[in-house]
């Protein structure tokens, strides 16, 4: 009996010893390895979904948002019947079955089959229950306004990386870095909540653009393109006091929601990336410089009766013979001969100095990618005929935005503003984290700016070159431009291809908007006063109504009420 008890006790002790050794093996010797294996079974690493911030216009209207879609991938090793699956998927996604089959037969354990599927398509694919297919949430950038403001907004690639426009310039602001979180899961693979926000959002942008004004500008550009059968067009509307870009449009244009149908030249933001010879709109330089330097007064006479002036071996003509003109009339009637005479009085050094002061030959600093600086050669590189060309806007290359900024300086009393399209950055929780505070630089005295503004007002009055830009009820100050394009074949000025433009601001004495309209290669008419000025007028009339700017001619009729 005692012997049996000893054997039993020994067996139990031995059994416990084995258990203890095994426990020691599990808990001490192989702890790390087994712990890792357990974690691999119990935990699942999932990527936090990264979402770009929303882009709003100045009144909080959504211009770029995210659509929550799903992307389809597969583990080719797990797909049972590749051919049959490829056929079914091709039918649902509209992609060629051969392309899908190639992916299904490829090696590895992860192959994208289709990205950003429409919800209906994703649902139908799920219903097929094809083994080896899986979905991941994926955001697609969507531009609810379609073509509108496409050159400002830009677009993103398939991985939501900014490629053009604000999407590119503010990519790091709009996007945020992703991370991986470990979630517990059960034996069936169901994840358990860890209380982690599985979405990481970037900052939101508030643009200076006003959707209403942008629509007006784009609508009128479309009409002008059709009327003048033009090759291209660009228009910018800006608040001359702040540099806020209220609207910026180019034609041809594109829809950022369907990029496959657009061509490269349609995506070009001509307003800031294309240079042109400004023609008469550049006379602002000699005009303001002559007044500021007191080289002329408003009534200084210039003999333009011959209608031509010789500079070196070049003869510069007026469109019509004008006779004796005062300085004011030289600008009002846009006389080339008179302008060259003013330029000669100033001298090339001072012309260059003022052109640079107005920001020509340098980037304006607008927060959009691809801006070019244009070109104005320093006086030592001027040829013998340059003193006749530069005052009338030849031998210089500018962008429409540079011209608009210069005219805004006249509108606001002599300050050069920084044009910009983003006014605020808002964090995902709604706090303003950045507000635009641009620099302004004085380039003219207020007196000169006001004097020149009065001259520009006469341009849209009787006897001026842009009567068709006059807005009923409010004074418009502005200047027309008609520039010959250089024929790339002959390297000489073309007699057929012109650029017509009008730049101005309204109401002239208390400007709310400054705007430039540039029409490239219009057919039938070439003059800025005929082609571009009416476009300015139409947009300005609608914009003033939209902005609730009262007419100045019936100020007495205004109904006065008390609060």
């Amino acid at each position: 009996m005692r012997k049996r008890a000893i054997i039993l006790n020994t067996a139990i002790a031995f059994g416990f010893l084995i258990v203890i050794i095994r426990l020691a093996d599990i808990m001490i010797l192989n702890h790390e390895r087994l712990n890792e294996r357990a974690k691999m079974q119990q935990l699942k690493g999932e990527n936090v979904q990264v979402r770009r911030g929303t882009i709003f216009d100045r009144h909080g209207r959504e211009m770029a948002v995210n659509l929550e879609l799903e992307s389809l991938y597969c583990d080719p090793a797990e797909v049972a019947s590749a051919e049959k699956s490829a056929y079914v998927l091709s039918d649902l996604t509209g992609k060629p079955s051969q392309a899908i089959l190639t992916k299904l037969n490829s090696g590895g354990h992860f192959v994208w089959l289709d990205r950003k599927l429409e919800p209906d398509v994703a649902r139908k694919i799920k219903e097929t229950k094809i083994k080896g297919l899986a979905f991941v949430p994926d955001a697609k950038r969507f531009y609810p306004k379609g073509h509108l403001a496409s050159h400002i907004l830009g677009f993103v690639d398939i991985d939501n990386k900014g490629i053009e426009g604000v999407e590119l310039k503010y990519h790091s602001t709009l996007s945020t870095s992703g991370r991986k979180v470990l979630l517990s899961r059960d034996a069936s693979g169901k994840t358990l909540s860890q209380g982690v926000d599985m979405e990481s959002r970037g900052n939101n942008l508030v643009l200076t653009i006003d959707e209403g004004l942008q629509y007006m500008v784009e609508t009128e550009l479309d009409r002008a393109m059709e009327k003048w059968r033009a090759a291209a067009a660009a228009a910018i509307m800006m608040d001359p006091l702040t540099g806020d870009i209220l609207a910026l449009a180019n034609r041809p244009s594109f829809n950022p929601n369907s990029l496959s149908g657009s061509k490269n030249f349609e995506r070009r933001n001509r307003a800031i990336t294309d240079c042109y010879e400004p023609g008469s709109t550049f006379k602002i330089i000699i005009g303001t410089a002559a007044l500021e330097e007191k080289v002329v007064s408003l009534d200084t006479p210039f003999d333009c009766s011959r209608g031509v002036v010789e500079v070196g071996r070049r003869r510069i003509h007026d469109a019509h013979k004008h006779g004796l003109l005062t300085f004011k009339e030289v600008i009002q009637k846009s006389s080339n001969v008179g302008s060259v005479m003013v330029g000669m009085k100033l001298g090339k050094e001072r012309i260059y100095k003022y052109a640079k002061a107005f920001g020509f030959g340098e980037k304006t600093g607008i927060d959009l990618p691809g801006e070019v600086s244009g070109l104005i050669r320093p006086p030592e590189r001027w040829s013998g005929v340059s003193i006749g060309s530069v005052p009338i806007g030849q031998e210089v290359a500018v962008t429409p935005l540079q011209v608009l900024r210069a005219y805004s300086a006249i509108a606001n009393g002599g300050l050069l503003v920084t044009p910009h399209v983003v006014s605020r950055i808002i964090s995902p929780d709604g706090k303003t984290v950045w507000t635009f505070t641009g620099e302004t630089k004085r380039v003219l005295s207020q007196k000169t700016a006001e004097t020149f503004r009065d001259i520009l007002k006469t341009v849209t009055e009787e006897g001026g070159t842009a009567k068709s830009a006059a807005v009923s009820g409010n004074n418009v100050a502005g200047k027309t431009g008609t520039a010959q394009m250089v024929d790339p074949r002959t390297k000489r000025y073309s007699t057929e291809k012109y650029i017509s433009s009008f730049v101005g601001f309204v109401p002239a004495d208390n400007p709310r908007i400054a705007m430039i309209v540039v029409i490239y290669e219009p057919k039938g008419q070439i003059y800025g006063g005929v082609v571009a000025a009416p476009v300015f007028k139409k947009i300005a009339e609608n914009a003033l109504s939209y902005l609730e700017v009262p007419r100045e001619d019936n100020a007495g009729d205004m109904l006065v009420v008390s609060r």
């Binding site: 100045r58 209207r61 929550e68 609810p144 358990l192 942008q214 109504s545």
Partner: protein, 120 residues
């Protein structure tokens, strides 16, 4: 004698009580743990539902923004409702006796302040 009997009763009870407490404790821990897991499942399901609703809300917001685009609004106003853009000559502006920033809209107020600041 009574003391001895009481002591033997206590010693007799202490083991079952200890085992009962131990079992209750183990059961309690298991029960709590299972409740945690169950709550985690529920939260997980609710989170999925929330994500679905948010996804739906985002899609609806995008659709709303698209429907509110100026192009569509103008098309509806002009074609369907027969409205026209107001003629500026026919618009009468109402001027307040004590003009100041509008208080109805914060946007207007900040815009006013910003412009004023830039002018100053």
């Amino acid at each position: 004698m009574i003391n001895l009997r009481r002591r033997s009763m206590v010693s007799y009870m202490i083991k079952p009580l200890f085992i009962t407490f131990l079992l209750c404790g183990i059961f309690g821990i298991v029960w709590l743990r299972s409740n945690f897991t169950s709550v985690e499942y529920t939260i997980s399901e609710l989170e999925n539902k929330k994500a679905d609703r948010l996804r739906e809300a985002k899609m609806l917001m995008a659709e709303k923004a698209s429907l509110m685009s100026m192009h569509k609004v103008e098309k509806t106003a002009v074609r369907d409702l027969g409205l026209v853009f107001p003629d500026r000559k026919k618009v009468t502006y109402v001027k307040e006796r004590n003009p100041g920033p509008q208080k109805a809209s914060l946007e207007t107020l900040s815009e006013w302040d910003r412009r004023k600041a830039m002018v100053n």
